[in-house]
C-alpha cells in the first residue's frame, strides 16, 4: 500500500507501518506521531533510536525487552506512548509491527 506522509509517497502496510526503514526520516516520524496523538520529545527520540537499533540487530521486540533496555522503564514507556505503547512506538520508528504477545 502507498501512503503520502510528510509529502513523500511511502510504502506502508495495511496498519500504516513502513515497509522500508530506509524511507524513514524525522519529519515522517513527527507526522505519524501526530496521527497517534504523541508529541515527540527528547526521550521519545531516544526510544525510537533504540527500537531501530534493535530491529537492525534482528532482536524480537517485547515489553520485557523495554524493561531491560536501559533507555526507558516500562512505566515511562506507557507514559510516553499512551494506549498501546509498543505498537505506537514501532510505527513512529518506521519498524515492523511487533508480533510478540509479550
Amino acid at each position: 500500500m502507498e501512503s503520502n506522509i510528510a509529502g513523500i509517497i511511502l510504502d506502508v502496510t495495511e496498519d500504516g507501518y513502513l515497509n522500508d526503514l530506509s524511507q524513514w526520516n524525522k519529519e515522517i516520524a513527527k507526522e505519524i506521531a501526530k496521527e497517534e496523538g504523541v508529541e515527540l520529545q527528547d526521550k521519545h527520540w531516544e526510544v525510537i533510536t533504540w527500537l531501530q537499533e534493535q530491529v537492525k540487530k534482528e532482536v524480537t521486540l517485547s515489553v520485557r525487552g523495554i524493561k531491560k533496555s536501559g533507555v526507558v522503564d516500562i512505566k515511562e514507556f506507557y507514559t510516553l506512548f499512551p494506549g498501546g505503547p509498543l505498537k505506537k512506538a514501532t510505527r513512529i520508528a518506521g519498524v515492523p509491527k511487533p508480533k510478540s504477545c509479550i
Binding site: E14, D15, T60, S62, V63, R64, G65, K67, D73, I74, K75, Y78, P82, G83, G84, P85, L86, K87, S100, C101, I102
Partner: protein, 158 residues
C-alpha cells in the same frame, strides 16, 4: 485498523498451576499493550502467585491433565511435576517469557491493577506481609465487580 470494543479486561485467577497463571498474565499484559485496561483478582489457589514465598515455586499439573499425554499413574510419580515444570520453563525462557516475579513487576509497571481476594486471604490465614509489594489491595468480590465501571468491560474466570 478498527478500534476494539473491549475497553477493560478483569481477570479472576483461581488456580496456581503455571499454565493458568501465565494465561492470566499474558492476557492482562496483552490487553495493556493494546491500550486496554486490565486488572487481576487473585482468589483461592491463585493467591499462590502473589505470595512472595510461593510464587517462584509454581508448577505444571501432571496429574488430571490429559494434554500432558502421560498416564495419570506416571504423572503421580515423585519428581514428575518438577521435571515437567523444568521442561516448560525452559521452553518459556526460549520465548523470552519472564518468570512469575518479573512478570508481576512488568504487569504492575504497565498499569495492571493486582488485587487479592479478601475471603481467600482470610481463609488461608494470610496477611499483607505475605503478599507481593506491588499488590494494589485486598478486595471483596463485590468491590472487584465495581471495578467493571466502563462500557466494554469483560470479566474472565481462570
Amino acid at each position: 485498523m478498527s478500534q476494539s470494543k473491549v475497553k477493560k479486561m478483569l481477570f479472576i485467577l483461581s488456580k496456581a498451576t503455571i499454565e493458568n497463571v501465565y494465561a492470566a498474565f499474558i492476557m492482562a499484559n496483552g490487553a495493556r499493550m493494546e491500550g486496554i485496561d486490565a486488572e487481576v483478582f487473585f482468589t483461592f489457589f491463585g493467591l499462590e502467585a502473589i505470595q512472595t514465598k510461593k510464587l517462584k515455586k509454581l508448577r505444571v499439573a501432571t496429574v488430571g491433565n490429559p494434554a500432558m499425554h502421560m498416564p495419570t499413574m506416571v504423572g503421580g510419580l515423585p519428581g514428575m511435576e518438577a521435571f515437567a515444570t523444568m521442561m516448560m520453563k525452559k521452553e518459556m525462557d526460549k520465548l523470552d517469557m519472564p518468570p512469575v516475579d518479573e512478570f508481576l513487576e512488568i504487569l504492575s509497571a504497565s498499569g495492571v491493577k493486582l488485587w487479592a481476594c479478601k475471603l481467600a486471604v482470610d481463609m488461608f490465614h494470610l496477611e499483607e506481609k505475605d503478599l507481593i509489594e506491588d499488590l494494589d489491595g485486598i478486595l471483596t468480590i463485590g468491590d472487584f465487580y465495581s471495578r467493571a465501571d466502563v462500557e466494554g468491560t469483560q470479566i474472565i474466570f481462570i
